[in-house]
């Protein structure tokens, strides 16, 4: 065994506190070490060349590099010794910078510690064996979950690259929340005018298959090869036959809440959510249908000219393979009613949410764009907007900022003035957060050009009085309480994760936070990746986001997917768990604790059940090593032998 030790000075970062030449000298007396030298910057070109030279001239078989954290340069040096003709894993990095020179000031003590650390590294590398990564072929198909603007964008970008995409949407149409908006800030362009072309494009794209009324049932497999069960819910309408003529909706006697219009107005038990729905196919909701409640009606079946209604339809589960998954499940509005009894808790009809108001402003909404008070249908003249309902409020357990409320209030205040020129808008705000391009100018415009009066304070209470609503608020800038008699109050409700986001995350084995927003792998440098390889995030499912940010993230996720699948196969890390099958007792504690479902049962020829690690799924976390009662699971590169040898060196 021929070991070489390279001690990095890192300029003065290490050499300032550690006498590197002494460390190199001490290393020479360690077992099997026949080469040791100091280098000024080991990661630099000359530094790397010095390693290659030493390896080749002295025939080194193992290398210890005492330098910075392996998080910084482990891959650099693996490549270096790979170039020198060695197995890339026959190398050990010893951290004498972050763990030694940076945190000590006494040179003698730091040098002694550095020598101890090098000793430990030598002990470990002596027990290292060559490791080889394997490659697995990938399925060149992509699953996008959620058909909002982020999902559509990701699907289109991926499909344009030539990869087949399946876009799964839970509701009866794609378009998501953006399809429900009237205008978008800060440009005030019509939301559906810019979205519907994208929706249609997604439907017409040769590489995109739409699956509406469908949910993810189960996910198995790993990066490059996910096996996904999709449940297609029975809607009692045969999708291929329905022409979208809407006669069934017209004739249906079963009233149902209008989910698309956020509860403003009413819909039917069989309906198409809105005129530009994609696909333009009716769906029946059994819980409101007379045929299913009373057992008799059948009107839609009778009137349907295409014979598309089928009451016998049942849920179908299809299983498909995908190489990568983009999660774009979006958001829903926070349900404010229980948390805010002071604002009426939903009992006053003229206190509406921002999304309900959006539908009232929309020309395709239930009031055809005429703003009406829900209580008496009158045109409101005094409209009060209340910011941060269910946002920035620790007392209801939601300290997060919804990030778009300030902007959509400004938009709605402007639209209010446009719809009702003699109206007056009041906006209660805590801070105006307008950080995007053109956003600050937009909120100023709402005040300067459209006369919205901004009051800095949180509303305390709303109560009805003489057919109006009294809003008790504050203007902290003028110093005291204010009361406004309002005809209509619009609550800028915050964002919640979409219903069931946590459940989906558990199926996908990705992490999520306390609000069920899905977690990215690194908040700065891996913002679209999840902790599970091959699954990416797009849009407001990760955190509250506006449209441009959602679209940008969707395109970023698409780029990641295309990059991943363009190679055709994936190289896996060799530092994964391995089971000694001869000694495995088949208790499967490892399988129970594995957070990545990376362990399966294998039947040996003698009928014994033993654990087997799926290399491509294993992330090398080591939990199974700890759980294994006979200690027969070990992590390659971190075997018990190596760890014990390291510890013994330190204890000596």
């Amino acid at each position: 065994m021929r070991i070489g030790v390279f001690v990095c000075q890192c300029g003065t970062n290490i050499a300032g506190t550690v006498a590197t030449d002494k460390v190199a000298e001490a290393a020479l007396s360690m077992r099997d070490v026949l080469h040791a030298e100091t280098l000024q910057y080991t990661c630099s070109d000359p530094g790397q060349r010095a390693i290659i030279d030493a390896v080749q001239k002295k025939g080194l078989t193992r290398v210890v590099i005492a330098a910075c954290s392996p998080r910084m340069h482990e891959t650099t040096f693996r490549r270096t010794i790979g170039q020198a003709g060695m197995n890339a894993y026959m190398m050990e990095m010893v951290n004498i910078r972050e763990h030694c020179s940076w945190i000590h000031s006494d040179i003698d003590i730091a040098t002694d510690k550095a020598i101890d650390l090098v000793q430990k590294g030598v002990a470990r590398v002596r027990r290292q064996v060559p490791l080889y990564s394997t490659t697995v072929p990938v399925t060149r198909r992509v699953l996008v979950i959620g058909g909002g603007v982020a999902g559509i964008q990701a699907a289109l970008d991926i499909a344009d690259s030539g990869l087949p995409v399946t876009l799964v949407e839970r509701g009866p149409t794609i378009g998501g929340n953006m399809a429900r908006l009237d205008k978008t800030f800060p440009t005030l362009d019509c939301s559906s005018c810019i979205l519907t072309p994208r929706m249609v494009e997604a439907k017409q794209h040769e590489n995109i298959r739409l699956m509406v009324n469908a949910e993810i049932e189960q996910v198995r497999g790993y990066i490059g090869n996910f096996e996904v069960d999709v449940r297609k819910k029975a809607t009692c309408v045969i999708e291929d036959k329905c022409t979208g003529c809407m006669i069934c909706q017209e004739k249906c006697p079963g009233k149902a809440p209008d989910e698309f219009n956020a509860g403003v107005g009413q819909s039917k038990a069989i309906s198409i959510p809105f005129p530009q729905a994609v696909p333009m196919v009716a769906a029946l909701r059994k819980e409101y249908c007379r045929q299913f409640i009373n057992g008799k009606c059948g009107v839609c079946k009778k009137v349907c000219p295409a014979d598309a209604v089928d009451y016998e339809q049942v849920d179908e589960i299809t299983t498909e393979m995908f190489g990568a998954v983009v999660v774009a499940t979006g958001y829903e509005l926070y349900d404010w009613r229980e948390a805010y009894p002071d604002y009426g808790g939903g009992q006053y009809p003229d206190v509406v949410t921002s999304l309900q108001y959006e539908r009232m402003l929309s020309a395709s909404g239930p009031t055809a764009g005429h703003v009406q008070r829900p209580s008496d249908g009158a045109e409101p003249k005094q409209v009060v907007f209340v910011s941060c309902v269910g946002s920035r409020d620790e007392s209801v357990g939601r300290p997060l900022c919804c990030s778009v409320g300030c902007m959509y209030i400004a938009k709605q205040a402007i639209l209010t003035k446009e719809h009702i020129p003699d109206s007056q808008s009041y906006v209660f705000y805590i801070d105006i957060r307008a950080t995007g391009k053109g956003y600050e100018e937009f909120t100023r415009r709402a005040q300067k050009e459209f006369g919205a009066i901004y009051l800095r304070g949180r509303v305390g209470k709303i109560y009805p009085s003489n057919g109006q609503l009294v809003v008790m608020g504050t203007d902290t800038l003028s110093g005291g309480p204010v009361e406004i008699e309002a005809d209509l109050v619009v609550l800028a409700t915050g964002f919640s994760a979409a219903r069931g986001a946590g459940e989906l995350a558990r199926k996908l084995n990705i992490s999520y936070d306390q609000y069920e927003f899905l977690s990215e792998s690194h908040p700065k440098l891996r913002p679209v990746e999840t902790t599970t390889g091959g699954i990416f995030l797009a849009g407001a499912c990760q955190a509250p986001k506006d449209i441009p940010d959602s679209v940008a993230q969707a395109s970023a996720a698409a780029a990641k997917v295309i990059g991943l699948l363009s190679r055709g196969e994936i190289e896996t890390s060799p530092m994964v768990a391995a089971v000694d099958q001869l000694r495995c007792i088949g208790c499967f504690k490892c399988r129970d604790v594995c957070p990545y479902n990376a362990i399966e049962a294998l039947e040996l020829r003698d009928g014994r059940q033993v654990a087997k690690v799926i290399d491509t799924l294993c992330q090398g976390c080591g939990v199974c090593n700890v759980a294994c009662p006979p200690s027969v699971v070990s992590l390659k590169g971190y075997t018990d032998n190596q760890l014990i040898a390291e510890t013994m060196e330190l204890l000596r």
Partner: protein, 188 residues
């Protein structure tokens, strides 16, 4: 009222820290949304609405707070505390400011109200429950209006609304303990 932050923060820091210690609240948690003021039932009579009391404490402007009418007049309806989005017990903060003002002997503008409050607390502390006859006498003497409302005395005595003999309660020590704990462990 000139605000000179640089000098006052240092001066008032000790008092603010004491208010925080006794009340167990963090004034720095307040982000000035103004919801306390939006529903304050007494702010019509206050010189500083509750959110400004919190702000003054954040800036260490203790003199303004301790001398304020707000500190004397706040009647602890607790609406502000109930509605605070940051879960700050605002009324509790004001209450402790009030108590520290008392300890420092700051009388403020609402002398009668302060007198009544002190008399009330002393009375309850002494007897364990209110002894109206002594309370009224004490207030009349201390406010130098000995004959105030004297014409009502025969009537309320006849109707047995108040008693000459002080009331007795079983465990007066417990009352003392309550007072001690509210005062933040200080025996005062």
């Amino acid at each position: 009222m000139a605000i000179c932050v640089s000098s006052t923060v240092a001066d008032g820091a000790a008092v603010v820290a004491e208010i925080e210690r006794r009340s167990g609240e963090r004034v720095s948690a307040c982000y000035q949304c103004g919801r306390c003021t939006s529903t304050c039932t007494g702010s019509f009579a206050f010189d500083y609405p509750p959110h400004r009391i919190m702000r003054l404490l954040q800036l260490g402007q203790v003199d303004e707070v301790l001398n304020s009418r707000t500190a004397q007049l706040c009647f602890d309806c607790m609406t502000c505390s109930t509605r605070c989005p940051m879960n700050i017990d605002v009324a509790n903060v004001i209450e402790h400011a009030k108590m520290i003002a008392d300890e420092l002997g700051i009388e403020g503008d609402e002398k009668d109200i302060r007198l009544f409050r002190l008399a009330f607390l002393q009375n309850v502390r002494r007897h364990g429950r209110l002894h109206e006859a002594r309370l009224l006498t004490w207030i009349n003497l201390r406010s130098f209006k000995p004959f105030n409302d004297l014409e009502l005395v025969p009537l309320i005595l006849r109707k047995k609304k108040i008693h000459i003999v002080p009331p007795r309660i079983r465990n007066r020590r417990l009352i003392h303990r309550i007072f001690r704990e509210v005062n933040g462990g200080d025996e005062s």
